[in-house]
C-alpha cells in the first residue's frame, strides 16, 4: 500500500509555520478568525465549479437531505458580515469535484478574508503586504486585465468580438477550440491562461484587476467603466494564487447573476442547482461595504517551498488519501 505521506516532514513543518505567520498577520490587524460550516444546504452557481454532494440522514426525517461540501467559505462568511461581525478571516478546507493536477487537489485549503470599508485596491495592497511577509518576495506589480491582453496579445479584451477572439486563438494554435466556441469568456480564459499567465508575475507577484463584467462572479461592476468588474487575481511564477472582489451588495443584482448562471448550467449540462436563499436574505438585510479575497494556501506553500506539484505540500493527496 502507498501509506507514506506525499509531503516531506519539512513541508509539513513549513505549513505549520505558514499558518502561524498568517494568524499573526491578521491578529495584529484585529481581524477575527472565524469558522463556518463545510456542509451546506445550498451551493455556488458558478457553471465551472462542481460541488461534491452527500446525503444527510437525520434521526428526525424519513428521507435523506442533499448537502453540499463548500467550494469556498464565501457565502457563510458574507452572512456573518451581514450580521455585523466586522473584519474576519478563515482558514479552512474547500472541495471542488473534477479538479486534479499539478495545482489542483479536489480537497484543498483556503485562506479567505473580508475587510469592511476596503475597496479592491486597498485589499490588493493588503494581499501584497501578506505575500511579502510570508514569502519574503518583492512588492507586487499591478496591471489591468485590459493592459495585460494588450501587452501580450495586442488585443483589447473589452471590445474584441467573437470573430476576432476566434482568429487570435486560431493564430495561437487553438483552432480546435476556436472553431465551435460561441462563448467569448471561454476564449478569453483560454488566451489568458495559455498566452498571458505564463509570461506575467515571474520575478514578483502580479495583481491583475478589472476583469470583464461578464466574469464579475460576485464582484460589483465599476461605476466609472461598467464594462469591468472590481475583481482581481494574483499570479506568481505561473501559479494563480488568489481571487478577490469589491463585494457586490445589491441582492437583486446578485439574484439575477445566480439565475443567469443557472440558465448557463441548464444550457451546458442540462442540470440545475439550488439558489442560496439564505445568502440573498442576508444581502437584503444589508452587506456592509467590503472587499474579500480567497487565497490558496497549498499553492502559497508550493511557492514558499519551491514544490512543483501540489501533492508535495499535502500530507496525502487524493491519490493516496
Amino acid at each position: 500500500m502507498n501509506w507514506k505521506p506525499s509531503a516531506e516532514i519539512a513541508e509539513i513543518r513549513a505549513r505549520a509555520q505558514l499558518l502561524t505567520d498568517i494568524r499573526h498577520f491578521f491578529s495584529a490587524k484585529d481581524v477575527l478568525e472565524v469558522e463556518t460550516p463545510l456542509l451546506s444546504q445550498a451551493t455556488i452557481t458558478d457553471p465551472f465549479l462542481f460541488p461534491f454532494t452527500t446525503d444527510f440522514s437525520s434521526p428526525f426525517a424519513t428521507q435523506s437531505q442533499t448537502l453540499y461540501l463548500q467550494t469556498s467559505p464565501e457565502y457563510a462568511m458574507k452572512r456573518l458580515l451581514c450580521a455585523g461581525i466586522g473584519d474576519i478571516f478563515q482558514i479552512c478546507k474547500a472541495f471542488r469535484n473534477e479538479e486534479s493536477g499539478h495545482y489542483h487537489n479536489p480537497e484543498f485549503s483556503i485562506l479567505e478574508w473580508y475587510r469592511i470599508d476596503f475597496d479592491h485596491h486597498q485589499l490588493m495592497s493588503e494581499v501584497d503586504e501578506l505575500l511579502q511577509r510570508v514569502l519574503a518576495c518583492l512588492p507586487a506589480e499591478k496591471q489591468t486585465y485590459q493592459e495585460a491582453f494588450e501587452a501580450h496579445l495586442s488585443i483589447d479584451p473589452l471590445t474584441a468580438d467573437l470573430s476576432t477572439l476566434k482568429q487570435v486563438a486560431t493564430e495561437h494554435g487553438f483552432e480546435n477550440i476556436a472553431e465551435n466556441e460561441t462563448d467569448i469568456d471561454v476564449l478569453l480564459q483560454l488566451l489568458f491562461s495559455h498566452c498571458v499567465e505564463p509570461k506575467i508575475g515571474q520575478d514578483k507577484p502580479i495583481i491583475i484587476y478589472g476583469f470583464p463584467a461578464s466574469q464579475a462572479a460576485l464582484a460589483r461592476l465599476s461605476k466609472e467603466d461598467p464594462r469591468v468588474a472590481e475583481r482581481f487575481e494574483v499570479y506568481f511564477k505561473g501559479i494563480e494564487l488568489a481571487n478577490g472582489f469589491h463585494e457586490l451588495k445589491n441582492p437583486q443584482e446578485q439574484r439575477e447573476r445566480f439565475e443567469n448562471d443557472i440558465a448557463k448550467i441548464k444550457h451546458l449540462y442540462g442540470t440545475t442547482r439550488p439558489i442560496d436563499e439564505n445568502l440573498l436574505s442576508a444581502l437584503e438585510n444589508g452587506l456592509p461595504d467590503c472587499s474579500g479575497v480567497a487565497l490558496g494556501i497549498d499553492r502559497l506553500l508550493m511557492l514558499k517551498t519551491g514544490a512543483s506539484h501540489i501533492k508535495d505540500v499535502l500530507t496525502m493527496s487524493v491519490s493516496n488519501a
Binding site: F48, E98, H102, G173, N176, I177, D185, S193
Partner: protein
Amino acid sequence: MANFSTNEFKAGLKIMLDGEPCNVLENEYVKPGKGQAFNRVKIRKLISGKVLEKTFKSGDTVEGADVMDVDLDYLYNDGEFWHFMNNQSFEQIAADESAVGDNKKWLVENDACTITLWNGSPIAVTPPNFVELEITETDPGLKGDTAGTGGKPATLATGAVVRVPLFVQTGEVIKVDTRSGEYVSRAQK
C-alpha cells in the same frame, strides 16, 4: 472507432488529430479559479514523428485512432516494398519507404521488428534495439590498436555507416544499438 474524452487521455492512448494518428504522451489539467477548465496535452504525431502540445476544453472528445503494434519478422526488400511476416500465421505485410524511413538501414532478415499499423496499414517500422550486421567496408586499422580510441567509419551490409574502433575489420559482424546508431561490440560467435 470510439471517441475519447479528455479525462481518458492517458499516456499511450492513440487519437486522431488533423487527420493523423497520434500518441498521447502527457495530459496536464489547467483551470482558472473562475472559468473553463482545459487539458493541455503533449502528443506525438505517429507519421511525421512531430511532438506538439494541444489544448482541449476539459470534457471535449476526440476520435480514437485505430493504431496497433504487431511484431513481425523482416523478410526482404523488393526494391519498392519491405516485406514482413507473422511467423505464427505466415501472413505477410508490405511496408513502403515512408513507413520504413531511416530504419531501413537496420533491417536484418529474420529479425523481429515492430510494425505500427493504422487502419491495418503500416505507418512505422521499429527495428530491434540491437542488430548484428557485417562490415562491408572500413579502412584497415593500425595493427596493435586495441583501445579503440578515435575510431573510424565503417559501412555495413545494409548501407548504414557507424563509427567503430580501429581494430574492427572488413568482413567482421558487429552489434549496433539502433536507437543511437552506435557500435556496441563485435558479435558473439
